[in-house]
Amino acid sequence: MVHPVIKLVAQRIALGLLLLLAASVLIFVGTQILPGDVAQSILGQSATPTSLANLRAELGLNEPPVTRYFNWLGAVLQGDLGKALTNGQDIAEAMGKRLGNTLFLAFCAAVIAVPLAIGLGLIAVRYLNRWPDKLISMVTLATISVPEFLLGYIAIFLLSVQFRVFPSLATVYDGMSLGEQLYAIALPVLVLVLTVLGHMMRMTRAAILNVMQSAYIETAELKGLRPFTVIARHAFPNAIAPVVNVVMLNLAYLVVGVVVVEVVFVYPGMGQYLVDHVSKRDVPVVQACGLVFAAVYIGLNIVADVVSILANPRLRHPK
C-alpha cells in the first residue's frame, strides 16, 4: 500500500496543476472580454479595413475563442509564449532574463525577511506584552499601513537623497559582479523586506502563541526551563506547519509586491515588463506574464501545503 503521505502530497500537486490549468482559462477569458478588437486597438482609429482584416488573420482572431485558447495553451506548453504585438519580439526570450532578475530580487528579500520575521516573532512571544513586543508590533503595524511604492520613495528620499548611502535606481546588467548587483538592489530588497516582514512576524507570533497555551508548555515551564528554551525547543517545532504556511503565503505576496517595487526602482524585471505592456495593451505579453505570475503563486501555495503535510507527525506516522 502506498504511504498515505505520498498519496496526500500527490493529490495536492495534482490539484495545484488543475488549478493552474483553470487559471490559464481565466487569464485567457479575462483578455477576451472586449471581443475581437485587439487589432483595432493596435492599429488605432485610422486603420483601413484591409489592414485590420490582415492583422486579424495574422493574429488568428477570426477563429473561435475555444480554438484560439487551445492553440495558445499548446504553444505555451511547448515553451512558445508568442510574439509581442508592439515590437514583434519573442516573448519567451525577452522574459527569460527578466524572470531571472525578478527571482534574484525576491530571493534576496526572502533570505533576509524569513529568518528576521521568525526571530522577531520568537522575541515578541518571549517578551509578550512587555516593551519589546509592543515596539515590534507598533513598527510592523506602521509598515503594513503604508503601500510598498510609498515605502520605496521614503527609502529613496532618506537613504539615497538625504544620506546618499544607496543608489536610487536599481540598474542591473550583465558583467556586474555579485557584490555590485547586491549593492544596486539594496533599496528594493529593503522595501520588499519591510512589506512582508510585518505580516509574517505577526502571524508567526500568533501561531506560536496558539501553541503556548498547550499543557506540555506548562510542563516545560514547571520543569524550570528558561523561557526562551521553552519557546524555541517546545513551542516552535509544533508551530512549524502554520509558520511555514505563513512564510509561503508571504513569499507568494512578495511575487506581487515585486511588480510595484520594480516600477519604483526601474529594475529590469517581470513586473516592469508586465506594467509596461498593460499600458501598451499588448495582450500576448500580458497573458504570458499573468500566466507566469499565477504559476509561481500557485506553486508556492502547493509547496506550503506539502510542507505542512510533511510537518504533521500524525500524518507521517499513521497507526
Binding site: L26, Q32, L141, S145, F149, V259, D282, G290, A294, Y297
Partner: protein
C-alpha cells in the same frame, strides 16, 4: 458605553478625511487643475503644502485626490460587500451544488493574485472610474464571500434558523432576517479592513498609471506626478504617504473597537 481613546482618535481622523472628501470643493483653497504658482514651491502661508511638478497647489490636489480615492474605495467596498455577502449567505443556506460551484469559482479567482488579475483585465478594458470600481469590487468580493460563508455556515445550523425553515419562510427571509443580523458584526469589522485594502489597491493602480487618469487627482497619482522631485530632495511625493497611512491606521483602530465591542456583547472575551 465608553468609547476607548484609540477608537475616538480613529473616529476623529476617519471622520475628518470623509468630511474633507465630501466637501472638497468648499474646503480646497484652489481649483483641482488650476496652475497657481511656480514649480515645486516649498510650503508657505500661500500654499500650505507647497506646489506640485507643474505648479498646482498641493493641498488642493490632496483634498480633491482624497475625494477620488475615498469615493472609488467606498464604492468598490460596497460593491464587494453587497455581492460577496449575498453570494456567501446563499452558498451557506442552499448548500449542495450551489455552494460547490460558488466556492470552487472563488478558489479559482483567488489562485491568481488580485493585482495581477486586475492588470490582465485592465489591459483590454478602457480605464475609467466605473470599470475600476467594478474590477476592484469583483476581485475583492471573493474574500468577503469566504468570510460571510464561513460565518453563515455556523448560523444556519442554529435552532432559530431551523424554526424559520419549519414555519415555511422563504430563502430571502432566512438570509436577510435570520442570518444577516447575526453575521453583521464580523462583517462590519472586516469592512474596515477591506476599505483600507481598496485605498491601497487604487493608489497602487494609479501609481502604475493604470488607475485614475489625469487630470483627475488621486493619492496614488500624486505620487506618480511628483516622483521625479524626490531625487532633488523635494518631498511632495511623500505627502500622500502620510494621508494613506493615517487613514489606514485610524480605520483599523475603529474596526478593532467594533470587533471587541461586538464580541463582548456576545459574551466572548475582551471588552
Amino acid at each position: 458605553m465608553r468609547i476607548p481613546i484609540s477608537a475616538l482618535i480613529g473616529l476623529a481622523f476617519t471622520g475628518a478625511y470623509f468630511f474633507a472628501a465630501i466637501f472638497a470643493s468648499l474646503i480646497a483653497p484652489y481649483g483641482m487643475a488650476e496652475i497657481v504658482g511656480d514649480v515645486w514651491e516649498p510650503a508657505s502661508s500661500e500654499f500650505l503644502l507647497g506646489t506640485d511638478g507643474i505648479g498646482r497647489d498641493l493641498l488642493s490636489r490632496m483634498i480633491f485626490g482624497g475625494q477620488t480615492t475615498i469615493f472609488v474605495a467606498t464604492s468598490a467596498t460596497l460593491l464587494s460587500f453587497g455581492l460577496g455577502s449575498i453570494l456567501g449567505f446563499t452558498a451557506a443556506v442552499k448548500g449542495g451544488w450551489v455552494d460547490q460551484i460558488l466556492s470552487r469559482g472563488v478558489d479559482l479567482m483567488m489562485s491568481i493574485p488580485s493585482l495581477i488579475s486586475a492588470l490582465v483585465v485592465l489591459s483590454v478594458m478602457p480605464v475609467t472610474l466605473p470599470v475600476l470600481i467594478l474590477v476592484m469590487g469583483l476581485l475583492d468580493a471573493t474574500r468577503v464571500f469566504r468570510l460571510s460563508r464561513a460565518v453563515a455556515v455556523d448560523i444556519t445550523v442554529m435552532d432559530y434558523v431551523e424554526a424559520a425553515r419549519l414555519r415555511g419562510e422563504k430563502q430571502m427571509w432566512i438570509i436577510f432576517r435570520e442570518i444577516l443580523p447575526n453575521a453583521l458584526s464580523p462583517l462590519v469589522a472586516e469592512m474596515g479592513l477591506r476599505f483600507i485594502f481598496m485605498v491601497l489597491f487604487i493608489s497602487t493602480l494609479s501609481f502604475l498609471g493604470l488607475g485614475v487618469q489625469p487630470p483627475l487627482a488621486d493619492w496614488g497619482g500624486i505620487v506618480k506626478e511628483n516622483r521625479e522631485g524626490i531625487v532633488y530632495g523635494i518631498p511632495a511625493a511623500l505627502i500622500p504617504a502620510v494621508a494613506i497611512a493615517t487613514l489606514a491606521i485610524s480605520v483599523n483602530l475603529v474596526a478593532d473597537w467594533v470587533l471587541t465591542r461586538t464580541s463582548s456583547l456576545k459574551g466572548g472575551r475582551g471588552g
